[in-house]
């Protein structure tokens, strides 16, 4: 491997590790929130209404994550903008 190939391999592996960690955290949080929300009294199996609730809850949680992420990034950029005005 030359320098370029080593660099690319490091980047690929690092991205994979970060993305896996991010997905794992998201799944853990979805499990926790949607279990709490959709299975208040655990029975002998998941009922079909609980399963419907779980898929809808999961979709909602991911939509919420995207809104929170976009709003947070927008706010950070805004704060950085304010800071550079005050410092100027």
């Amino acid at each position: 491997m030359d320098s370029e190939a080593v660099k690319k391999a490091i980047i690929r592996q690092a991205l994979q590790a970060t993305n896996t960690a991010n997905a794992r955290t998201l799944i853990e949080n979805i499990n926790e929130k949607c279990f709490e929300r959709c299975v208040p009294k655990p029975g002998s199996s998941l009922s079909s209404s609980e399963q419907t609730c779980l898929t809808q809850c999961m979709e909602k949680y991911m939509a919420a994550w995207n809104i929170v992420n976009a709003t947070y990034i927008q706010r950070i950029q805004q704060e950085i903008g304010n800071q550079s005005i005050t410092n100027a």
Partner: protein
Amino acid sequence: MSSSTEHTIEQADLEKLNDKDKAELRQFFSNEEQRSRIQSQTHELTAICWKKCVAGNTIRSGALDKGEQTCLASCVDRFMDVNLATLKHLASMRQQ
């Protein structure tokens, strides 16, 4: 994952990196660190704001309704306001 074809990076490989690629990697990791920080903060904020804006509502579909969307965005902004207000007040307390 194609781990069979994935080459494991070893010390000997790292020594092959030229200065230009080392600089690029430093930049890459600094960006990744920031991206990672933003993502973990997003995870925490989503959990906090889910509780305030969605958890108590009846789930009727897989989509967030308009009220929930607005609430989530406001939740993030007000959380940041509180964050900044706390820091500001702390700074004024230290000056006394």
